[in-house]
Symmetry: C2
Subunit: 217 residues, 2 copies
């Protein structure tokens, strides 16, 4: 995971956890739970209550009453931190299995984050829609992304062609990239990149499983 | 990301970076590069050379010569840390778009890590093979995983049915889970879980993009 800038004091891991707390709070609200204590959130996420309270303190949220946090208020509070006021447009580059899954999975889940277009080279896919998202030819990427003011790109191309997209992404004015390919990409400062590599995480899981077995022997 | 145990002193992030270094070294070897300096690895991964040297020091690797690290030796050294001696069997649970993508993407990439079976409920998929990996009905999971000594499960099911698999995963003797679903799962101590949630990372990217824009205004 590479960061080119850290614009304020909230740690990356706290940002990740805030997103996870919100997801949990939305799930709880959906099943009728209106209040949660820090230890409820902590249990669900496998962390300590102290960590939950510290995260919420960092964003200035402190309405822990006798009934616990008001889930609806906290969801809104986290939304103010994570989402901002304007809708952020997102483009998916590469409609293979992963691109398809991400587009379907994400569409409609968050009001302030919108996958507005997708790109591919396959004539079978260009001109189609996936979960309501139009698929254009990748040659149109720079123009369409600029016109649509797309700020975030999800790179779900085959690894071998990913590096060739870097220049277009810069030209299109993209500010954030979620890189699903197995190759680190060099973007200039001012473009935030998050690598999301399956092999790395699978190897990490393997390592901890192996170490645990060694301890038990 | 939740950890139930940390069996030694190598930090999680170092483990992730070791996996990334190896991937880069293998790529470089494939295109004929035999030696790299710490600053070469650092540049490719967007980190400092000090960080690279610190990571390699942590695993006891210190053969930085005038020509830099010998890529082949370092690959082997990292392999000894990450892989262990035995092949680790992996099962994919849920053959939707993501399960399919992961199976195809991973198969054959690492010699010590092997996706040996996949599971689904769809009669169209059960009995088929994906990248040579047989797909069985999910009802057979516990028996087949035990018999095949599967140690790691990739959870690529729909989020709403993921929680129902927890008990089977414990019964099957699985020791590590890579959880692609959007729900935190409660496993007992001794099972290592890594959450791999797309929405969380996308929201994180969004946050940093938004903050960067606010700074520039």
């Amino acid at each position: 995971m590479s960061i080119n800038f850290v614009p304020n004091n909230i740690p990356e891991r706290t940002i990740e956890r805030l997103s996870e707390y919100r997801r949990t709070l939305l799930n709880e609200l959906a099943r009728g739970v209106t209040h949660l204590y820090s230890h409820n959130l902590a249990n669900i996420h496998g962390i300590t209550a102290v960590q939950v309270r510290r995260d919420l303190m960092l964003i200035g949220f402190s309405s822990d009453t006798k009934r616990g946090y008001d889930a609806r208020v906290l969801v809104e509070f986290i939304g103010n931190i994570l989402d901002g006021n304007e809708v952020m447009n997102v483009a998916v580059i590469g409609i293979g299995h992963i691109g398809h899954a991400v587009t379907q999975h994400f569409t409609g889940k968050r009001s302030k984050l919108k996958i507005t277009m997708a790109f591919d080279v396959d004539p079978q896919k260009v001109g189609q829609k996936i979960a309501g998202v139009p698929v254009y030819h990748i040659d149109e990427f720079v123009d369409r992304a600029r016109e649509n003011r797309v700020k975030i790109a999800l790179l779900t191309l085959p690894t071998r062609v990913a590096a060739a997209m870097v220049e277009s992404i810069i030209q299109a004015g993209i500010k954030g990239v979620l890189n699903f390919t197995s190759t680190p990409l060099n973007f200039p400062e001012g473009i935030y990149v998050e690598d999301y590599d399956i092999i790395t995480l699978l190897e990490k899981v393997t390592y901890f499983v192996k170490e645990c077995e060694a301890v038990q022997k």
